[in-house]
Assembly symmetry: C2
Homo-oligomer: 526 residues x 2
């Protein structure tokens, strides 16, 4: 029987199964190419405290409109010359395998573009890079050798800089479908502008149309810091692996040096709980001891994980973004406290709600999803945020559909549990689902409060206006009955209004004064 | 700036991003483990013409119910001893990288289970295998070394067989959630039974409950054959790669030896079209020549791809399966002709419709999805079949919801464009979408025909029954009016019925006779 085994490289796997990484058809492949490059550009800037300037250009081949060249340029830290081809052309190699929030996570995105270009047009990628402190620009033309999994270099060059530019410029020539992809790509940039108001982004369409998303704020969020893993919610196998790989000499030292939130005292407490000698070498633990240590780590109450590795957008910025783009009558945003999901990865959930104003009423809320500041456009129904929204009881919060309601969700984490290789949907982790639900509740409660206030005000306005409608008539009648000189209807009306005024306060008085003003206006006009 | 690059192995990637391969949470991980092992078991049997016997056992740890041991045993061809650890413990190694339909495709499934077991319980996998022609059983206890990407062997053994068993038996100990996973797993086996009626499957729950899906038919579908790629719809980059890798000495020879459906004549025609000398060595082609050859291959009319590599279920078997499980009043199935999707992969689409009978009415059709005979349970809304169904106009086919309607879709291909690593949703390829739509139309047309017939028959029945209701009375009246001896109402009635009978035929007559029978019965009873 032909049980002949064959091995392929990761590059070949990317080639064979392009659709797993978002290169499903020429339209989506164009969108995915732009995403991967733009997110690399943003990671190369804001992660290092640089205000991002990003330019994206799509050009179509004259002879064949289904071939596009995508160019993305940033003002980031650049890539050292000897690392360019590897960073962009070798799968599972990246500077982003760190415990801190970044857009990149797999070490596959730019490589999948390289493979897609290779398999469709056969064209290599062109990259120009100038590191921050360098006086030269480096050029590499490269692709991937599928059979060796190594970058294949076509051309190399370098020259002295004539400007102060630093950063990376990358070009890929791919099979595409611009007209099918256009609306999604524009939506992507619009959504990106909402959560990256500190970036200046220029996007140029094939026909030359320029979309400029200017920098609105100069203040950047604090860049996330690299941290150690948190000891709680580790799986036993994960602990075993860490024990095997550590260079610490004792198990106590292992605990302190490997994890965050573990000091001398808590390390000793945990080891006491597990009945393990603190001076034991980590590699010498028996399976039973590992089991006990695992249990002790799970049950010990460590402080919550550090949020230093995370960079949430912040309620203020979310509200500003939603206001600027959607022009709603009401907006609220909530940033939750950090929690952990599987294996001790901290995450923060943020939810924004925009209501009314220029928002069109819909049969269900419009959902704007983000993860680590990445707008998510495709695969909405596979996303955990969609599930939470689907199960949410809006009636309870005074919202009856059709309603002009937009919900923004943002999950940021040192590790996003991406459900698909194209990074378009977040997997359903209980902890994340719970936080999303709580954040949505919190924001929806504020919306309910606003809606109740609004309704109350409307009722008040209605009441006072009904009341005021009869005032001129009543004043007239009283004046006629009294028949005295000097008791004009106007005077009676003023007296009546003053009496009422004394009995009102706050919102009621405010509405009253406003309507009285209108009342006089009407009179004057009449 | 810290542009420190780090590389990880594929095994480490599987470990870090478990959720990409379906190991999203403990419930889904259990389901995924069973899927991967069962599909390997079926590939090891029916691909080689063996009627499958598969046993699946789930056991829960006594101390901790969230730890399960999954055992799957088959009667397949087995794995040679020296290849067991590699076949099950080395990522991107498989015997399934061939152009022919199989359930496995990535070379990652069983390895992802191995990594999941390692990371959650730390337990190695245990495999027993006895190849078809071997007199021994081989045992390997293994895991994966994440840092080297190689299998890590814990124990090895072998002994002389005491039975005639051949095949593989594999055990994994993993973190799980049986109570959450149960209904999905049972649904999986039920759906599997529909399209694998030639398999005998036993599934034992942790509490000992046995589910037996017995073999219903002894006839197996012809195993798919390995074929060469089809030359049409190749991308230029793909052609370039094939040219680079070939051992053919001339470009003509390259075309004939690399592709199916290319003979001496068509090779020469294509090369003439491209203006390339047939005796040119393949590696010597210029970029421009490759461009021309690519165009020529795309425009030349080759015969349709061979379907030898495919094993559709067949309309007959689909209808039988739907009937047996769903007990509908109407069932129809359609198997389309083979076509190609991206890069020349042949595929066949099959659609079955079941209507009425024991099927519950629903607001939308119940969709049963399959790809290469694999039941697809999760991520329904991300699947191309769901999209086709969503856009389908059922009213046009006389179906008004709520309706008792089940739709089965099966896509089989030498390469399924899986959208997610967990193989639960098929990506949206235009060609596949189109075929699904056409197949659905074809089946729905037959349903419409049935529904129209059914309505017509109901109307007929109504008409005849209204008519017959008055017959006894009329007969009585006539008999009384005539008042003659021997002219009993019964005789008049018989005469009337005979007159009517002579004017009827076909379905009408059939309904008439049936109702007359009921009529006499009623009379006798009365």
């Amino acid at each position: 029987m032909d049980h002949e085994l064959k091995q392929i490289t990761v590059a070949e796997f990317l080639y064979k199964e392009k659709q797993l990484w978002g290169f499903e058809n020429p339209a989506r492949a164009l969108y995915q190419t732009i995403r991967e490059y733009v997110e690399n550009a943003l990671d190369a800037t804001d992660l290092y405290g640089i205000l991002p300037n990003v330019t994206v250009i799509i050009e179509q081949d004259e002879k064949d409109k289904s071939i596009c060249t995508v160019t993305v340029e940033d003002n980031g830290i650049g890539i050292p010359p000897q690392k360019i081809a590897e960073a962009l052309g070798k799968p599972l190699v990246t500077s982003k395998f760190k415990i801190r929030q970044s857009r990149g996570q797999f070490g596959l995105g730019a490589k999948a573009v390289t493979v897609y270009a290779l398999s469709t047009t056969g064209s290599p990628i062109e990259a120009y890079s100038s590191p921050l402190d360098s006086e030269r620009v480096y050029y590499v033309k490269f692709s991937i050798d599928l059979s060796t999994n190594e970058p294949a270099i076509y051309a190399l060059g370098s020259w002295r800089k004539s400007t102060k530019w630093h950063g990376t410029r990358i070009r890929a020539r791919i099979r595409c479908n611009w007209s099918y992809a256009r609306s999604r790509i524009l939506k992507y940039f619009e959504m990106l502008a909402i959560v990256t108001p500190y970036a200046d982004i220029v996007f140029i369409e094939p026909d030359g149309t320029i979309h400029h998303y200017p920098r609105i704020v100069e203040k950047m969020p604090r860049p996330p810091k690299e941290v150690k893993p948190h000891p709680a919610s580790l799986e036993k196998g994960e602990l075993q692996m860490l024990l095997k790989r550590t260079t610490a000499r004792t198990i106590k030292e292992f605990l302190i040096s490997t994890f965050q939130r573990v000091g001398e005292k808590s390390a000793l407490n945990v080891l006491k709980l597990a009945g393990i000698d603190p001076s034991k070498p980590p590699q010498s633990l028996t399976d039973e001891e590992i089991e006990r240590l695992h249990k002790a780590l799970r049950s010990y109450k460590f402080p919550a994980p550090s949020s230093e590795a995370l960079a949430p957008i912040g309620a203020e910025l979310i509200e500003a973004g939603l206001k600027a783009i959607l022009k709603p009558e009401f907006v609220v945003a909530v940033t939750r406290k950090p929690r952990m999901h599987s294996g001790g990865h901290p995450f923060i959930v943020e939810v924004g709600i925009a209501y009314g104003g220029a928002i069109e009423p819909r049969e269900q809320p419009l959902l704007l999803r983000y993860a680590n500041r990445i707008p998510l456009i495709y695969d909405e129904k596979a996303d955990v945020a969609w599930k939470v929204l689907e199960e949410f009881n809006w009636k309870h919060y005074g919202v009856n559909f059709p309603a002009p309601l937009v919900v923004l969700t943002h999950i940021c984490s040192t590790k996003i549990p991406w459900k698909v290789g194209s990074k378009e949907a977040v997997a359903e982790r209980e902890e994340i689902k719970e936080e999303l639900h709580l954040a949505l509740q919190e924001a929806a409660r504020k919306l309910r409060h606003y809606l109740i206030e609004k309704r109350r005000e409307e009722e008040l306005r209605e009441k006072i206006s009904t009341f005021l409608r009869y005032i001129p008539e009543v004043a007239q009648s009283i004046a006629t009955i009294l028949g005295e000189d000097g008791v004009t209807p106007d005077k009676v009306q003023r007296l009546l209004l003053d009496t009422l005024r004394r009995r009102m306060k706050g919102k009621e008085l405010q509405v009253f004064e406003q309507q009285v003003k209108n009342l006089s206006k009407v009179k004057i006009e009449a």
